[in-house]
Amino acid sequence: MPENLKGSIGPEQQFKNYLTEGKFMIQKSKSLNEFFFHPRVAFPGTGERDLEWVEASGNGIVYSTSCNRRLPEKGGDFNISLITLQEGPRMMAKIEGVAPDQVVIGQKVKARISSLKGEPAIIFDIVEG
């Protein structure tokens, strides 16, 4: 990596830019052929820097889930889950389209890009069956 970073952007901004374009992109190391999340400048733990961005399948499995209780006048209860992506890494996200306390560990979910407070955000929906 050149010392002078003028004119380039880091992986966090790149990830957000992709989301703004409607793409859910994650990084992989070419030599390891392994994915990781969240975005970083090098592969966590081993430091490979031969990274490329790949569009995620959006397929995932619920690893754990929680129903966060909140007063109705403040927006009501909401879901926070951890999703294991088909590509391997795990991420935090919200599952919508189902009551926040009705999400079940092991359920299949599918990502879509929505927005939260005006920022693009990855939201998951339960995949039927």
Partner: protein, 396 residues
């Protein structure tokens, strides 16, 4: 070099004084004022003059440079200071660092301190920054993280909310014996009380969560040779180790296995003792799930078996395993970062059984003949894990 070579720290340093200040509610006092109270009281307990303090270790949620702010407030000019902030376990890591600095001869007398007046000034106080890739979903940290771990634990091991509630019930039973505990006069809890309390983040209800109180604490450490000349019974650091694998809960490699597996193994190895040797067990119980995870990860039972270990009040005053004998973060005190209170309870039990007057408890509140205690600290969202093993002189 094998990690076990650090055995040379075993028994080289001791806590010779301790104190708490403003636990519960300290309205009208600042976090710094009660922290300084606890330092002066701990020095009095040790019989060591403030002017002898040359090592200062502190972390709070109120001071970005806590060791420096505390040193200035006390009027101490430390030769070594450390304000490492790894959450509620910081103080157990400060104790390890202080032991190294004392053993290396960099300092002669260390104080490790903490203070918080969060309750008096409006509630839970944190200086944690928003976590990238998590914050936009607005998790109610830290509760959401522990709820995710609890949910996964229930899924993997068939645990129920009743199993979690058993932890809170026993913690309260200990608090009823401890006049220092915030809930000392609140009466016992039933499993049903815990289950019917308002949910914060499912599956954790209000009584699965630690208290929100004020409170400050300090311990004084010195080398073993000097410790012999102090006012009260020195309690020796036999083992200490830390490890962490994540900062954000979404990065935790396995929600039901913490890095206490690693910190515990190395701390026990340094001490030469094993879980079955511990006479008292003090675990950072920010939430009921913590106690289950740490009993397993530190080797008191196999993975998934803590739910059986905590049944029938087995970790309460009438049980076989004395866990969180002050009442814990759930029922004694929790000013935001509880680590030093875990430490103080581990040491108080040993001092009491050595004949020191460390306060009154109701019958069974003090563990007879206690010679070895484990103090385990947790920080962040099941992130930083630090284990300390304490013993009386004959255990070295």
């Amino acid at each position: 070099m094998d990690y076990n070579d650090i055995n040379k720290l075993k028994g080289k340093t001791a806590v010779v004084g301790l104190a708490e200040s403003g636990c519960g509610i300290a309205k009208g006092w600042s976090a710094m004022e009660i922290m300084a109270n606890s330092v002066h009281d701990a020095l009095d307990d040790a019989g060591i003059k403030l002017s002898e303090v040359d090592g200062v270790f502190a972390a709070t949620a109120f001071h970005s440079m806590a060791a420096m702010s505390l040193s200035e407030y006390l009027g101490v000019k430390p030769k070594f200071a450390d304000g490492s902030q790894i959450g509620g376990s910081s103080f157990l890591s400060h104790i390890l660092t202080a032991a190294m600095a004392l053993d290396a001869g960099l300092i002669n007398v260390a104080v490790v301190a903490y203070g918080s007046n969060q309750k008096s000034i409006g509630g839970f106080k944190t200086i944690s920054e928003a976590m990238p890739y998590e914050a936009q979903y607005e998790p109610r940290m830290p509760v959401t993280a522990y709820a995710l771990a609890a949910k996964r634990y229930m899924y993997e091991f068939g645990a129920t909310r009743e199993d979690l509630a058993n932890v809170a019930v026993s913690a309260r039973d200990w608090a009823l014996l401890n006049p220092r505990a915030y809930t000392h006069n609140d009466g016992p809890l039933s499993v049903n009380d815990v289950l019917s309390a308002r949910s914060i983040v499912d599956p954790l209800g209000k009584l699965d969560c630690c208290l929100v109180t004020d409170g400050a604490a300090a311990v004084v450490m010195t080398r073993a040779d000097r410790a012999k000349d102090t006012k009260n019974t020195p309690i020796y650091l036999l083992g200490a180790a830390m490890e962490h694998h994540h900062r954000m809960v979404s990065e935790m490699p396995d929600l039901v296995r913490t890095s206490a597996i690693d910190s515990g193994k190395r701390a026990f190895a340094m001490s030469g003792y094993s879980p079955k040797d511990m006479n008292t067990i003090q675990l950072y119980d920010a939430f009921t799930i913590n106690t289950l995870l740490f009993l397993e990860d530190l080797g008191f039972c196999n993975k998934g078996e803590a739910i059986d270990l905590v049944k029938n009040n087995n970790i309460g005053p009438l049980g076989n395993l004395p866990v969180n004998t002050n009442g814990g973060g759930l029922s004694c005190v929790h000013p935001g970062m509880y680590g030093l209170f875990v430490t103080i309870e581990a040491i108080r039990q040993l001092r009491n059984s050595s004949g020191d007057n460390v306060g009154d408890r109701l019958n069974r509140g003090w563990i007879p003949n206690a010679k070895l205690s484990i103090a385990h600290g947790n920080g962040g969202v099941l992130s930083s894990q630090v284990t300390n093993i304490w013993g009386v002189s004959e255990t070295i």
